[in-house]
């Protein structure tokens, strides 16, 4: 990185841009890192002084987000996406190859400070994996050849701006379009319709449409907007949750890449209904590459009078949208954690009630909706609630965009009216010999072949969109283990059961994987599952056990074959535990070893 003598040089413009507002702390830290490669202690000195924030708070925030670094992490920071779908495409071998070529151990920084290589949670590129982030920019379709080229570019210290453009190509991969993806939406069209009518009427249209939140929970969008609209507050806020962190989900990436106007317009309609002047998009840090594109669209919309003051000439309708980037924290997809993060804090879920609709951003009434929900709101604004309610099923109106990945011929986006069967999706995406489908990601549900006639709908299989396919060759225990590791990595650490329990669960799954399992461990896993479910603070802890519970229930043989011992045996390898002593003493006699299991003399 460039030799900057005073951190003020690059921090001053950042601080000025964010108006020294401490709620923008996360944004400032992220941009500081983009300039310097990591957040230098002296940069923190300067932020502390300029923002009048305690240093411990700045460090507390920075250390919460996995894409921010408080120590040097190499000029090139390589993060391999480690979703199960990346694993299935061979990401571990590629990472090993890269580590070998660049002389660096995974998880460490090379001695010359050139490069660090590690894994990260799913980067939302499952349809075009294996994927990496390099200095937070996505590169997909990794092959051995591409890895070799990357290694060379890194060794030659070529700046990312000089790398072949095709490396950064990201495809939409839309395979099936319905009302949303096939809408040929013209920007401003929905807003022009909507603004001719009162906000009450539009709220009624949204309620009539029976639109439900597309983030997975399925709360009525009309009710949410109404609660927020009637909640007292000096300001009301619209927040678009684009922290698409659920492994296996990538529809918001495509919506923001190719349908951003629909999303922004939906937010503006929401602002009209709830009386908001300001909106935020919380974009996951892994989608950093979309930032300039989205800023350009926002700017265009301002010029077209679709944002800003007196929108489309309507006096007193003032609304604008700001983009906040996350920095690697799945928990920020939880709406109250997202709001904390928007306020520049650690992404810890709040105690609820109060809910965001009455006390959200800066404790003001706030609507938080998914990207797809806002896009659907644009359609409803254009065509009316009754039209929308007619599509889909009784309980689930409209369409759902599925992010299909894993063992199928055509991974990508598929939009269906609600009510489509899993079997239909599998047929359309070219899946063969399917053993299981993980619906809605690790926090969702894993279904086996005898359930493929079940339907995507809120009253059967609710989903945020992920649809990961596993064929008969896959080991469902390893799928669950990958998901358990994910939850452990993403636990915010606030509550005891999730903080410690996800680590214990992960250790126990490793114990089984290492061949140290017995029925005793199995009972322990079931006990931990129950504890996490009943005592965790938020949905992450509650759902951290889902992958294990589902796979135990449906793919029991994958577990049984790992319960290789009848009696309890230790999780750690006793003989290995003597290896340091053997090395130090030079001994290798029989007394210098321990059997794994007890042998009677």
């Amino acid at each position: 990185m460039s030799q900057i003598t005073t951190h003020a040089e690059y921090l001053d413009p950042i601080l000025a841009h964010y108006k020294l507002n401490q709620h923008n702390l996360l944004q400032m830290l992220r941009e500081a890192q983009e300039h310097f490669g990591y957040i230098h202690p002296e940069a923190i000195d300067y932020l502390e002084q300029q923002l009048q924030l305690p240093r411990s708070m700045v460090e507390g925030v920075a250390s919460f987000y996995s894409l921010l670094y408080l120590q040097p992490h190499g000029e090139y920071r390589v993060l391999f996406s480690d979703n199960i779908t990346d694993r299935m495409l061979g990401n571990m071998d590629l990472m090993e190859s890269m580590c070998g070529q660049l002389w660096v151990e995974a998880g460490k920084v090379s001695e010359d400070g050139l490069v660090s290589i590690n894994t990260t949670s799913c980067t939302g590129m499952c349809d075009q994996g294996p994927a990496v982030l390099i200095n937070n920019i996505a590169i997909n379709h990794l092959t051995q050849d591409r890895i070799n080229s990357l290694c060379e570019l890194i060794r030659e210290r070529v700046p990312l701006s000089g790398w072949p453009l095709e490396f950064f190509a990201i495809e939409d991969n839309i395979h099936k379009k319905d009302i949303l993806l096939d809408s040929n939406f013209k920007f401003g069209s929905a807003l022009a319709e909507v603004l001719q009518r009162s906000s009450e009427e539009i709220l009624q249209e949204i309620k009539t449409s029976k639109l439900r939140g597309r983030g997975g929970a399925g709360f009525s969008t009309g009710s949410k907007w109404e609660f927020c609209r009637t909640a007292p507050g000096a300001q009301h806020y619209v927040v678009c949750n684009a922290d698409e962190g659920e492994p296996g989900t990538f529809k918001d990436r495509v919506l923001l890449n190719s349908y951003a106007d629909m999303v922004f317009e939906g937010m503006t309609i929401c602002a009209h209904v709830i009386g908001a002047k300001k909106g935020f998009i919380y974009l996951r840090g892994e989608y950093r590459y979309l930032l300039d594109h989205l800023h350009a669209i926002l700017q265009r919309r301002r010029q077209q009078s679709l944002l800003g003051n007196n929108i489309l000439g309507y006096t007193d309708f003032n609304f604008d949208i700001e983009i906040h980037l996350g920095a690697g924290a799945y928990i920020c997809g939880e709406e109250s954690a997202l709001i904390e993060s928007l306020e520049g804090k650690r992404g810890t879920p709040r105690n609820r009630p109060p809910f965001p609709v009455t006390s959200g951003y800066l404790n003001q009434p706030t609507v938080v909706n998914n990207v797809e929900t806002f896009a659907a709101a644009s359609l409803i604004g254009l065509h009316g609630g009754a039209w929308y309610a007619n599509i889909g099923t009784e309980t689930s109106s409209g369409t759902k965009i599925l992010s299909v990945s894993g063992d199928c011929a055509h991974p990508g986006l598929y939009e269906y009216p609600f009510g489509v069967t899993v079997a239909q999706v599998l047929a359309d995406c070219g899946a063969k010999n399917t053993q299981a489908v993980q619906i809605s990601g690790p926090s969702g549900i894993c279904i086996a072949a005898n359930e493929f006639e079940r339907r995507i709908a809120f009253d059967d299989l609710p989903t945020a969109g992920a649809f990961m396919v596993f064929d008969q060759s896959r080991d469902m225990f390893e799928v669950a283990r990958n998901f358990v590791h994910f939850f452990k990595h993403e636990s915010c650490g606030f509550c005891t059961p999730c903080r410690v329990g996800t680590s214990l669960l992960s250790n126990m799954m490793n114990k089984l994987a290492n061949g140290h399992g017995s029925p005793y461990d199995f009972a322990e896993i079931e006990k931990l599952n129950e504890l996490l479910l009943s005592t965790s603070h938020c949905g992450l802890g509650h759902s951290a056990c889902n992958p294990v519970l589902d796979t135990i229930a449906k793919f029991r043989p994958a577990y049984d074959k790992r319960l290789t011992h009848k009696e309890y045996i230790p999780a750690f390898d006793l003989d290995y535990a003597l290896s340091q002593a053997r090395q130090m003493t030079g001994r290798d006699d029989t007394g210098a070893h321990l059997e794994r299991i007890h042998v009677s003399k």
Binding site: Y520, E567, Y568, P570, A571, F572, L574, A577, L578, S579, Q580, A581, R582, Q583, M584, T585, G586, R587, D589, G591, A592, H593, L594, H598, S600
Partner: protein, 183 residues
């Protein structure tokens, strides 16, 4: 053999990585030892100097696992004792010896046998008679299944007496306030 109608229970005891404090505390049951001797007989124990453990009803383990020999003894107890009881802080969480766990064993051996001030020609003992140390000290439940625990450093004579008499009578052992102590 004793002529009482009920056969005496056999008890074995051992100290692993501990200080014998728990055994000393066991002796603090004082004159109740006479009552106990009416009910039990001792197999392997520092009290009998018997070196190997035969089939027993109850095994009492003091201390955690810091070396290979500790593991052998613990396994011998688990294989031979119907009920295995962890006695005292070290058996239960590693105790004082486990406070080395955040240091690497190589570093510790290096420091003790090579680097320490005043050592001349120090070397790390490598006689095959000596048990090798484990890289970390473990409480016994991390290596074998343990049936009951008597916490304390050491547990009081009363606590040990309560658990033993409960077990001998076939009751689920219960300590309650005043007898449960970790210090």
């Amino acid at each position: 053999m004793n002529m009482s109608t009920k056969p005496k229970l056999r008890i074995a005891t051992a100290t692993l990585a501990g200080c014998f404090g728990c055994h000393m505390s066991f002796l603090d049951i004082d004159e109740r030892l006479f009552d106990l001797m009416e009910l039990v007989e001792f197999d392997r124990s520092p009290l009998t100097d018997i070196k190997t453990c035969g089939p027993c009803d109850i095994g009492l383990i003091e201390g955690g696992l810091c070396n290979a020999e500790n593991v052998h003894v613990l396994r011998e107890f688990r294989a031979n004792c119907k009920i295995l009881v962890a006695v005292g802080a070290c058996a239960i969480n590693g105790g004082l010896p486990a406070q080395r766990n955040h240091l690497s064993l190589s570093m510790i051996l290096e420091e003790v046998y090579h680097a320490q001030h005043g050592l001349v020609d120090g070397f790390i003992p490598n006689d095959p008679e000596l048990p090798l140390p484990l890289d970390q000290v473990h409480p016994i439940h991390e290596v074998v299944k343990v049936d009951y625990f008597i916490p304390g450093c050491p547990p009081s004579g009363d606590a040990i007496w309560k658990v033993l008499t409960d077990l001998i009578a076939g009751r689920e052992p219960e300590l309650g306030h005043g007898l449960v102590h970790y210090d």
